[in-house]
């Protein structure tokens, strides 16, 4: 789950948020943070290797953009986790109903 590890870092999460708004150059990103250009460059490298962003050249400028396919892994995690809990909450509902029925039956027997 490289993509999850990549956005574990708050600076990288912020970069993803900024790129979600619009594509930006590395220079524009650097101005948003109180860190060095080389630090931002390292963060971009991690995000790129995780497949979360892509870089394209426009003339002399390199533009950073989100890579939607890179977020599929996150989607998959979300899907699995929702399924995990949905299944259990369904079971909880069944068990609560079953108990109500048992209580109702035993009350009937007593009366």
């Amino acid at each position: 789950m490289e993509s999850l590890a990549a956005i574990a870092d708050p600076t990288r999460r912020r970069i993803v948020e900024l790129l979600a708004e619009r594509d930006r150059t590395a220079g524009e990103l650097v101005r948003e943070f109180d860190v060095t250009a080389s630090a931002i460059s390292q963060h971009l490298k991690v995000l790129r290797e995780a497949g979360l962003i892509s870089t394209r050249a426009e003339g002399q400028t390199r533009i950073q953009a989100l890579n939607p396919a890179g977020f599929d892994e996150l989607d998959a995690w979300l899907h699995r986790t929702r399924e995990f809990w949905s299944r259990r909450l369904d079971a909880l509902e069944r068990e609560l109903r079953a108990e109500d029925e048992r209580v109702a039956k035993s009350a009937k027997r007593k009366s």
């Binding site: 789950m1 999850l4 590890a5 956005i7 574990a8 870092d9 708050p10 999460r13 993803v16 948020e17 996150l74 995690w77 979300l78 699995r80 986790t81 929702r82 399924e83 995990f84 809990w85 949905s86 299944r87 259990r88 909450l89 369904d90 079971a91 909880l92 509902e93 069944r94 068990e95 609560l96 109500d100």
Partner: protein
């Protein structure tokens, strides 16, 4: 995106909030809906919990000969509206994720919103121990993938 990743599940129950809440903190009930043959092909080995803030739980099940211990710590307990706990398998580092259960009473029954937040403590782990970090993620990934497989099968 204040949290890295969170999965949200909503569920409506036709029983009072208190009963749903109590079912989350009673080992006998945990064995009826969270773990065990009612939920998937597994045998319950031991379900233990200490229902107080700072208390821990350990839910051990046996899946095809392999014991899996789900562990965590209760962070907030406010009956019947709020339950927050950390969630991990023992093989992984603790506090890999966090589960927030919010229960809102209705006239008849209640609504539950369950939020599973992955990586509440990630940033610390990543900088400190990149390798154990990735092991932790692998373990979590495997655990969840096993769940998904079992559910499909």
């Amino acid at each position: 995106m204040s949290q890295p990743v969170h999965a949200v599940v909503m569920h409506r129950f036709d029983v009072p909030a208190e009963r749903v809440f109590d079912a989350c903190l009673d080992p006998a009930w945990v064995g009826r809906w969270m773990f065990g043959p009612n939920v998937r092909d597994e045998r319950i080995v031991r379900l233990a919990l200490e229902a107080r803030v700072g208390g821990r739980f350990s839910f051990v099940v046996n899946r095809a000969g392999t014991e899996v211990d789900h562990v965590g710590e209760y962070l907030e307990i406010e009956r019947p509206g709020l339950l927050v706990f950390t969630w991990a398998t023992r093989d992984a580092l603790p506090e890999t994720s966090r589960v927030i259960i919010e229960i809102t009473p209705r006239e008849q029954g209640c609504d539950m919103k369950l939020t599973h937040v992955l990586g509440a403590h990630w940033s610390e782990f990543v900088d400190r121990a990149a390798s154990s970090w990735s092991q932790m993620l692998d373990a979590l990934e495997r655990a969840i993938a096993q769940e998904a497989t079992a559910q499909r099968g």
